[in-house]
């Protein structure tokens, strides 16, 4: 998220626009909307992107209202070809640039991005999210949740206190939210976690202060805190007005998808992740060897030629 924000600002977008992009991008994405539909319920599936949009817009507008200087910087978009970087699009007419690749080539590149770049960035966090959800399901007693986190402002504030420093991406936070709702956490409090978790974390906030300034970062935080809590409270009202229990919907397996297709999908995701895990294990082993200072005997020491671990876009950068 942060690299994209930096390029956005370099290209001439104003602070408000950068802020709003930095909120709505991590808080919601096609992938997290899809997984929300799978694990939570339709109301949540709609509420999540809508509240993300409102939060982003509120923060961006506040930013630009409180900003003194007018930003009339020239806009220089980066037009590099997204298919294979064949051309930077600068000395190339847009019509020609658009026709460098056939539709099939573009779709192919899209599939490649989906199952290599995107999944590589997501997979580690996603499996951590699944395990965390499993731990919550097994470890946390329902009574405790009912007593302390059932509903109301205290539950929201608790989720905020957990979500703001924690780094968790939107997709990976969803199974955790599902586990929390199953234990009796109110959907509004879960929404606070789903929005505040991905939008902020300790590492990103420090970097962000460098990009958009300290004051702008404070506005960013306050906007997120206020708007997620307010909408969390509203969402709880919506559920009680409609007489729906989020807990009941989430616990029901409403999908009519045959079991074998579900299992095939799950195995596909696991298979797609194997290369990444092997690379991580190899990286860890190499680091271990370096740490214990044992030169590989008999072989000339080879410089590390493998590419460094893929930087998680979905991680603190």
């Amino acid at each position: 998220m942060l690299p994209a924000a930096v390029t956005l600002q370099k290209q001439g977008a104003n602070t408000g626009a950068v802020t709003s992009f930095m909120i709505s991008t991590p808080e919601s994405g096609i992938d997290s909307i899809a997984i929300t539909y799978a694990l939570l319920d339709p109301i949540m599936t709609v509420a999540r992107p809508v509240v993300a949009f409102i939060t982003a817009a509120v923060a961006g507008v506040a930013e630009n209202l409180l900003e003194k200087r007018s930003s009339d910087t020239q806009i220089h978009p980066d037009l590099t070809c997204p298919v294979d970087q064949c051309c930077d699009g600068v000395n190339c007419r847009p019509e020609d640039h658009r026709r460098h690749h056939s539709l099939a080539e573009k779709l192919g590149a899209g599939v490649r991005y989906a199952f290599t770049d995107f999944w590589n960035d997501l997979a580690g966090w996603f499996f951590i999210g699944l395990l965390a959800a499993g731990l919550i399901a097994v470890l946390i007693p329902e009574e405790m949740v009912k007593t302390y986190l059932g509903s109301g402002l205290p539950a929201m504030l608790f989720m905020l206190a957990v979500g703001i420093p924690l780094y968790i991406c939107a997709t990976a936070s969803t199974p955790i939210a599902a586990a929390l709702i199953l234990k009796g956490v109110s959907p509004g409090a879960a929404l606070v976690f789903l929005l505040a978790g991905p939008a902020t974390n300790v590492a990103a906030l420090t970097v962000m202060a460098g990009i958009i300034g300290k004051r702008a970062t404070v506005i960013y935080l306050v906007a997120i805190a206020v708007s997620t809590v307010v909408f969390g409270l509203i969402l709880d009202q919506v559920y009680s007005a409609l007489g729906v229990s989020a807990q009941a919907i989430v616990s029901g397996t409403a999908t009519e998808i045959p079991a074998w297709i579900e299992v095939a999908g799950a195995l596909t995701l696991v298979l797609l992740s194997l290369p990444l895990f092997f690379r991580k294990i190899r990286g860890a082993m190499r680091a271990g060897r370096r740490y214990f200072g044992r030169p590989t005997a008999g072989r000339p020491s080879t410089p590390p030629t493998s590419p460094p671990d893929v930087e998680p876009v979905c991680g603190p950068t």
């Binding site: 994209a4 950068v18 994405g29 992938d31 982003a56 961006g60 806009i75 980066d78 969803t174």
Partner: protein, 65 residues
Amino acid sequence: MNFSIDVISEAWLLLRESALYILFGLLVSGFLRVFLNPNTIVRHLGKGRFKPVFKAALLGIPIPL
């Protein structure tokens, strides 16, 4: 031992429930990346004080990062 089996079976259930949706989400995100590059978003924002804010918020919604 029982404990870790319980945790993993809970995680596996969630994985089964969500895998197809994730694959679909990834695929759409991949196409989006080709047709709407986050780096070129600024082209669509335009100028002004507030219009770019709303457009950036809207464009950020589908983009996974």
